[in-house]
Subunit: 718 residues, 2 copies
């Protein structure tokens, strides 16, 4: 009898009747219900209860071992122009079934992923309407995913969600790492605070952005990472966000209860539904060790298997870009100062006077191609290659770019041929200016243009307010758009890396050509005033739970000049922390974001970026504490080398790297790129040491990290 | 010296300073301004004055001979988040220039159209903002078109119109033929009333429709036809509505002043503008003879010349359809009762049980092909051919149709081949359910599918509320969509006949593959309760001013049964009035809408439909009074035959057909299809006579029209 079947047996025994007996003092609806169904995780440690009160209102609760994680919390939906699916339910039937599979991602942190859960299905019927709704809970060892399902039925075909009532009633005033809720941007600094402090810190936690829609002072975004005073790591997010609007969380400070807050559409509706259908999964991860949170694949597992039969064309990519020089204002995306109003297809660039600072010019791109090819990169991103950058932002412009018209000084044919002759590809850039209709109208031609010129990956961008006007970046309309592009790109064998799009929810399992997303404050903000030193110790717990981020690390010359000689006009990391990010910030798409001159200057440190793998056989989480530090080791796919990254926040620390993950009876050579004595992110970011030593699986390395520092190690089998 | 140059000389002399001296008692802003510029029509009869008051507020006024048509009326725009373009202007410069051309439409009421006007350009500058705006007036013998132009300038690039202040201050309580204002439908019955009665008649003038957005009790739609007590025919409309929202008119009953009311977008904005740009033309036609209004080509002339170099693929079309049998509920668009929820691409129709009433089945379509081909038609429309009709309406469904998936009993390949073998084509049908994004996503494939199967014309439909949600059928967003489809269709050499789309404003001159539109209450409403007997005597003055209507006449069996045996369950015309509509309702796309059985039954009358031309060398407007009667004669293009149509409202009358338009010294044979004695639309619609007589240009025929009757004559040269 397996552990799973034991747990399964327990579940049946668990179906006792137990009053939930919760007594909250706040506004959240109190549960006087009874447990009518339960399920255990395969290891029996996580338990989910489903409850109904006397009015037929559904609730759920959750425990981890003997600790309560989620107190009885309301479930349900309010609907437009009809009675909500929020009460008056009776239990029609329930069932529990185990599931255990192992699958192989096209790319990932490991080559095999186990998907092992027990599923509780609770079928409800609303008595006076005869409408059916099911709650489905998948209980994993590291948490639970649950969703609402609406079967095909006579009494419910189309409905409009005006409010999702899902609550997450927490047990105390946990510590949280959060960004402010917003319907249009995630590019906020994280704040570490008690839950009770979110409201009063809200306004200072919001920085200006190109598109913003405030929700409420206590609104935060998912994935939300928390830690309880008794050592539980709790994470709330969602998985498989498809054809629904994105969920935010609004805290009731009196009850420490988060309530779901969906993203409204142009007329204030939250989701338009057609049965049979279901919501995304709402996820509550819980562990007693932060490393287990990072090791969990719960979000990916809740997504559907890959929909593509042939995935041979999907490859991880290490790339450089004609980009950081624009981000740091050395050159520009635009070509001329002649036009303050551009109409693509009408504005004649052939006669325009170049302003002389256009980055994507033939000569400069050739220089980058030479450098990227010589250093083993796969691709070179070129931004600002196409007409329209003189007049693209801030006016919800409709026909903003056409994605096929290069500037006069960008010879798209010759440059691609040149790149291909050197063994690399150019990477396409599609800034949409958030003009969704315009992008969709040009999409086929734009993708065909890529195929015709030998591109196979595109970085897309959604800067500014969404056009369709009234819609938000995280509403159902835009969510639908992003996936439409990914699926259409697959028809052309193109990989997509979408910036300013919806935050990932594990869809890369199903559509692995979605090789990257931004959806958080990336390295570009190091040039716009800086990210907090602890930023990248938080992201793996939050943003990265849904999928890889195109964080664009590798800024070796951290004294950047975009803002001129003002405080914090530098990356808030040491040089070797930038190297560590290639391991700690998992992505199959890794950029060396700095300019060639910086890599020439720090050529010895650059070696790590050239060496590090971007697809993995296995990952080992050696040390982890959100907001504080991370040490991760990964073994390359198809080889014997390991790479280790370790980072810290503004506090220096000494990391412990237990090499027992190495093969026994084997010898390795480790090259360690570490902060040097006196290094610090704000004063001496580029004091570093590189040393090589022989190691085995018996060794334990203790390596110092400077304030906001870190180290990287490459370990080659001998 | 030509008449035009004389008029031009007069204009210069007109530039006197004259106080406008208007004193209105109502809310409309009073003009205390002075005339600062003027222009005459080529025949000197129509004069437009441009005025500025002491605050720099612009006004215009208009006269016809010695009669005032438009009293000084305000001009200007309110803008979002900035000062409006409504006052503080000074005159920078002005100019008047004559224009005279003759052009040849691809198809039309005549083969040559003269475009002859004097253009007054008034360049204004707003003193405190340095923004520039021009008013351009084109003064024709039958009225004026004017528009706002915004040149390329430093101080004004992007702006958002929140209100267009354009007014039309009328001189009295004119008689008007109007439909209620609405942002989503034009399918209302016309009402004839005094202007002062519009408000109180408003609610009774609105019938239920699939998508409606009420504006205000005194709101009406354009083209609005009026008649003054002293015999002037005044018509307000717009021309060349491109990338702007549609204009409605709201009456201030105290001052008899109409103010422009644009159509809001999802966030309440009226138009998003980028300089250089301009508004559509606002048109005021004025004549002293209703026949001159019908003969005017002012709206077409205000549109730009044809944008296509090759127009050889654009042909007028006479067609039948598998359609009226659905409209009358004999058969249905849908295929099965199995599905209450359909997902295109997922729902499996191959196993569905047919309900047996699907009209677009192979056998039935073949029968229609045989009949249409045998009777000389060009095409056969087939609606309900594609999957999705079980679940397409009323839920703002997004992915509603894919336009390429036929029902199991519609063999698209075989049926097209069969039609082609008989010398005709099938006509495509694309019901979009107003889901604009979905249609655009499928557009290329849908058009390619047409090309692949030999279709070259599509009837598109926009039933229901617009998806993009929050947008209206007549907003800038949707206006942009309709033209996008027309232009893209041209790339595939496809002609478009769009139903429920924006009302035409003469764009068919520029894009002549826009061969039809609905945009008013068509013949289908004869099956849904009936059109008023005077309906088709109004449409040529209103709806048809902007372009042809796919009115779908030819219902010879007027006792239709959709509503069963209830009052008015019949077409409100006699049989021969249906024939007359082929002449009085000009369109290059004419349907014989009835079912084959009806044409077999009334085979002698059917002969006129088979004979009548659909493209014209020349049109002569013999008799016309809006709301009462029309008699029109047209000469076929490329031949010597003439066709005459005459209709009346519910009142019988005897029409006078002066045949002096025929060639002198030639003999003709006329076949007259007329109401018989005792005929009437409501009791004896099918009492008719057909007689043949010899005629010359000396003859004058007096022919009786029954209540809501009419007659048709074909005249062949011998």
């Amino acid at each position: 009898m397996t552990k799973q079947t034991i747990a399964f047996g327990c579940i049946v025994a668990m179906l006792m009747s137990a009053a939930c007996g919760v007594s909250n003092s706040g506004d959240a609806q109190k549960c006087k219900g009874e447990v009518v169904a339960s399920a255990y995780s395969p290891d029996s440690n996580v338990v989910v209860n489903f409850l109904l009160d006397a009015q037929g209102t559904p609730f759920y609760s959750m425990t981890f071992g003997d600790k309560e994680v989620i107190k009885p919390s309301r479930l349900g939906l309010k609907l437009k122009n009809e009675k909500g699916l929020e009460g008056g339910f009776e239990l029609e039937s329930q069932s529990v079934s185990p599931f255990d599979e192992t699958w192989n991602p096209v790319w990932g942190e490991e080559s095999e992923i186990r998907n092992n859960y027990n599923q509780l299905t609770v079928n409800l019927k609303q008595n006076d309407t005869n409408r059916q709704m099911s709650l489905v809970f998948r209980v994993y060892n590291e948490g639970v995913g649950f969703r609402y399902e609406f079967p095909d039925q006579e009494k419910l075909t189309y409905f409009i969600v005006t409010d999702e009532l899902t609550e997450f009633a927490l047990t105390g005033d946990h510590t949280a790492w959060w960004i402010s809720g917003d319907y249009d941007t995630q590019e906020y600094d994280y704040t570490e605070s008690r839950l009770s402090e979110i409201g009063k810190l809200s306004s200072s936690a919001r920085q200006d952005n190109s598109s913003q829609a405030f929700i409420a002072p206590t609104a935060v975004q998912t994935a939300l990472q928390m830690k309880t005073d008794d050592g539980l790591y709790i994470n709330i997010h969602e998985a498989a966000l498809v054809d629904y609007s994105c969920m935010h969380l609004v805290l009731d400070e009196k009850t420490m209860t988060f309530k779901a807050q969906l993203t409204p559409d142009a007329i204030g509706d939250m989701a338009h539904m057609q049965t049979p259908c279901h919501t995304p999964w709402r996820t509550v991860m819980v562990t007693d060790d932060a490393r287990k949170t990072l090791a969990s694949r719960l979000i990916l597992n809740l997504n559907e298997p890959c929909k593509y039969e042939d995935v041979s064309w999907i490859k991880p990519v290490k790339y450089m870009g004609v980009w950081w020089e624009m981000i740091t204002n050395k050159t520009h995306w635009s070509y001329t100062n002649d036009f303050h109003s551009v109409r693509i297809g009408e504005t004649d660039y052939s006669k325009a006077k170049p302003h002389g600072r256009h980055g994507a010019n033939n000569e400069n791109v050739r220089r980058y191609i030479d450098f990227a090819a010589a250093n083993g990169f796969d691709q070179l991103l070129v931004e600002g290659w196409n007409q329209g950058w003189e007049d693209w932002f801030g006016h919800t412009k409709d026909d903003v770019f056409d994605f096929v018209s290069p500037y006069p000084d960008f010879d798209v044919k010759a440059l691609n041929e040149y790149a291909h002759s050197k063994g690399i590809r150019l990477m396409m850039h599609h800034e949409t200016s958030a003009s969704l209709r315009n992008y969709e109208r040009h999409l086929d031609k734009a993708y065909q243009f890529m195929v015709d010129h030998g591109y196979n990956a595109v970085k897309s961008g959604y800067v500014g307010d969404i056009v369709t006007r009234g819609e938000h970046h995280y509403g159902q309309w835009a969510v639908n758009h992003y996936l439409y592009c990914v699926k259409k790109a697959a028809e052309y064998h193109i990989c997509v890396n979408a910036h300013e799009a919806i935050r990932p929810t594990g869809l890369c399992r199903t559509y692995p050509n979605l090789i990257g997303n931004e959806s958080a404050r990336g390295t570009e903000f190091e040039s716009f005033g800086g990210n907090k030193p602890f930023h990248t110790t938080v992201l793996p717990f939050t943003r990265l739970q849904g999928g890889p981020m195109d964080y664009t690390p590798g800024i070796l010359d951290t004294r950047i000049s975009f803002l001129g000689d003002v405080p914090h006009s530098h990356a808030n990391t040491t040089l070797t922390k930038q190297l560590a990010l290639y391991v700690t910030m998992y992505s199959p798409l890794q950029m060396a974001a700095d300019i060639p001159e910086s890599y020439e200057r720090y050529n010895d440190a650059f070696q790590f970026i050239k060496d590090v793998a971007i697809d993995w056989q296995k990952s080992v989480y050696l040390e982890a504490e959100p907001g504080s530090y991370l040490t991760i080791a990964r073994k390359e796919k198809g080889g014997e080398s390991w790479y280790v990254g370790s980072i810290t926040n503004e506090n220096p620390r000494t990391a412990t790297v237990d090499l027992s993950f190495l093969d026994a009876d084997a010898n390795y050579e480790a090259t360690i790129y570490a902060d040097g004595e006196g290094a610090s992110y704000d004063k001496n970011p580029d004091i570093y040491t590189i040393k090589t030593q022989q190691v085995t699986n018996k060794d334990v390395l203790n390596i110092w990290c400077a304030p906001s520092g870190g180290f990287a190690i490459s370990i080659k089998k001998k």
